[in-house]
């Protein structure tokens, strides 16, 4: 077991280092601004006094690397400084929105993951049949459509024309859970459509790849029925690629969510990021980027660890 622990720790360490480098990129990229943050925020009409005051307030007179460590130290405990537009604390602005985003992503994932994997296995079983070809064309179409295209189609048919679901996902604190699910159904469905197609294709590819292995032929020549060949012989070896598929798509959900949130005016972190970008509210942009990157890295890390843990060669060393 020592091997596995070592490998996992190594991956973990590598993930941390990656995150650190990304934090450096995010922080110092803002430093590349022509002029500095204060100038960018106040615009061309700024007086030298105003600029000096803002610089003082934001601590811009200190050297960049000192500010980086202050920023990083704050970020570790959840303090990202204050918004330069409203002056509010970034953490208070973001926390609730981040939870909303996670809820939406989880909502989509809970539907999409089991659905996509099952369909992927079925399509792999029925490969090269008409059903497989139709599925291929449909999933390709779904992948190729921008999220906002799918989103607006859903709004048009499920909201405007039939009125089954609300087009705008305004959330209130006192909503019941069922109400919440109903209100956020369309954005979740949009995400499901995109992610399912991706996952199905990747699951299919992973399984078909395995079906060419000699041990699958051996299982067939032992008289094992086709479903058992898939379930007992292919699937246990397909976990690593499938976990990878899931993680990749969850990570994709995190980015896809930005566009979907804008389409459905969903109060999530993606909206906040887009708003902050257009208002050039850098502390919020930095915070959002760091959070997205961290989630992304965490998911990839989980996939790697999952792949390590399900590998029989590593689980049962010589």
């Amino acid at each position: 077991m020592g091997d596995i622990l070592g490998l996992v720790l190594k991956r973990l360490g590598f993930g941390l280092i990656t995150l650190l480098i990304i934090s450096i990129i995010i922080f110092f990229m803002v430093e590349l601004l022509p002029g500095d943050i204060a100038e960018a925020v106040l615009g061309q009409g700024a007086t030298p006094e105003n600029l000096a005051a803002l610089r003082e307030e934001m601590g811009l007179n200190k050297p960049a690397f000192v500010r980086y460590f202050e920023w990083l130290g704050g970020a570790v405990v959840g303090d990202f400084g204050n918004s330069v537009v409203s002056g509010e604390r970034v953490s208070t602005l973001i926390t609730e929105r981040f939870i909303n985003t996670l809820f939406l992503a989880a909502y989509a994932a809970v539907i999409a993951v089991p659905f996509a994997i099952t369909l992927g296995v079925i399509v792999a079983l029925l490969r090269n049949t008409l059903f497989d070809r139709v599925a291929n064309v449909l999933t390709l179409t779904s992948i190729s459509s921008p999220e906002f295209f799918l989103g607006y189609i859903l709004i048009l048919y499920l909201s405007v024309k039939t009125g089954m679901f609300p087009a705008i996902s305004s959330l209130r604190a006192d909503m019941s859970f069922a109400d919440l699910l109903h209100r956020t159904f369309l954005p979740a469905l949009t995400l499901v459509l995109v992610v399912t197609a991706h996952m199905m294709r990747m699951t299919r590819a992973a399984i078909i790849n395995l079906l060419a292995s000699p041990y699958i032929e051996m299982a067939r020549l032992k008289g094992t029925p086709p479903w058992k060949v898939i379930v007992k012989h292919a699937l246990p070896n397909a976990w690593a690629p499938i976990i990878n598929v899931i993680a990749l798509n969850l990570a994709y959900l995190i980015t896809g969510v930005v566009l979907v949130e804008v389409v459905f005016v969903y109060p999530g972190i993606g909206q906040a990021l887009v708003d902050a970008v257009s208002k050039r509210d850098f502390p919020i942009v930095q915070a959002c980027c760091l959070i997205f990157a961290a989630t992304f890295i965490l998911l990839n890390l989980a996939a790697d660890v999952g792949a390590i843990l399900t590998n029989p060669r590593l689980r049962h060393p010589k």
């Binding site: 292995s213 000699p214 041990y215 032929e217 051996m218 299982a219 067939r220 020549l221 032992k222 008289g223 094992t224 029925p225 007992k232 012989h233 246990p236 070896n237 029989p312 060669r313 049962h316 010589k318």
Partner: protein, 550 residues
Amino acid sequence: MVHDKSVLLEIKDLRIEGYTGEVWVPIIKGVDLTLHRGEVMGLIGESGAGKSTIGAAAMGYARDGTRIVEGSKIEFDGMELTTATEGERRALRGSRIAYVAQSAAASFNPAHKIIDQHTEAPLHYRIQKRMEAQEDAMDLYERLRLPNPKEIGFRYPHQVSGGQLQRAMTAMAMSCRPDLIIFDEPTTALDVTTQIEVLAAIRDIVDQFNTAAIYITHDLAVVAQMADTIKVLLKGEEVEQQPTEEMLDNPQEDYTKSLWAVRSFERPQKSRPEGETPLISVQDVDASYTGGDKVLDGVSFDIHKGMTVAVVGESGSGKSTTARVITGLLPPSNGQVLFQGEPLPPRYQDRTKDQLRQAQMIYQMADTALNPKVRISEIIGRPAQFYSGLSGTELKHRVDELLDLIELDPSKFYNRYPPELSGGQKQRIGIARALAAEPSFIICDEVTSALDQLVAEGILKLLDRLQNELDLAYMFITHDLATVRSIADEVVVMQHGKVVEQGPKDKMFTPPHHPYTDLLLSSVPEMDPNWLTTLLEERGVDNVGEAADV
């Protein structure tokens, strides 16, 4: 026990087609086969003969991309497989017809324990309860002389060595006591010393249970040990079939005779000139891949001008690594390589153009040794252009000359691409590329092991002719002692990264030997059908397994 000798399997006019992506082309062109209970039939032939396809067809199974043509008849114990439903055919597989694949390491599922894969069929067919099936598995493991029969099944495939896995797979095939087992090249991937124990185990178990078997192989000596009758195939058609003894003593068809004659080529041995500086001198070389253990440990030997030194050993003995050290791909951690008395820089990047030119290499897999997207003329022409600065008509002339030298018609081959060539032709192009540099020394890395025997012999003869004409020195890396016997002047035997014995060929092939050389020499199958029996008696049955597992 009275053995029932009735007909078990009857194949009539078997035709199988394969899909090329555009059209269906015939692979098997009307083969008949009759197998009685308890009979072992050897199917032999070169690659592309269709032996493996026939083996699968005997189970009513057509691999992906192939189909059995209507009108073929495969009757197993009174049941017609071609018209049976898929369910009926499946019910035979594993229970009454079993299969042993070439690579046990790839054919065991890495996710399950060996014994769970073993008991899958008996449990599926409800022949035994789990406990019974496991007991039976252990019993079979013991009969097949696997070490720790009670415990070995509870390991995962990657925790067990290749030879043991192959025996475990034979045990698995036996799990439902089938009437027929298809052995598809079961020892081809194994080293000679490991091959012996697997052959012995397979023969014993087939005898004990009076199981009929189809034994597919390309190795005549192996099939001679195993089969009662031999059927020779060529390009999807039967050449002839006879009982083993007859087939060996008195083959009827020309093709069979040519196969039998292959092993007769042997050129006269040259001896070392006195007092001459060796062309290549490997001196006390240690080497290891980054961070790993030593793969070479104090390797020393000399190669003289115009002579052939065969470096022999099993997989993992370090023979290919030695070649990498000589070419400069792997700098040694200790020791050096001299060329005509001058030390060569350890890294190829530091060597001069002339030093690089002097030592050329021919590879085992001609497929990966030639760039598939480059014309033959450029493959051969590039070294001549690169080293000698030839161009235009001079270059074309030189390429034609080289093609003539390797006995290929320049007008036909000049503008072709490697994928359009056969295996033997590709290997010849590989040789021509080496010659184009006008070297004094060529490393031949298992150059014949991927080729059919007849083709391989042609290559050996060509190499011999070229050596005489151009005064080349060869370092011949091989695991095949027959090749050594036919072409070597001197032999270096390697094991676990060390040279265990070296000397002139005649001395090496006459006793007394180093114990490992002895094991290696005695493990090479011979055409005599009683060879295995005699050998096992000599060695004593019990230590067969241990000898190879060290």
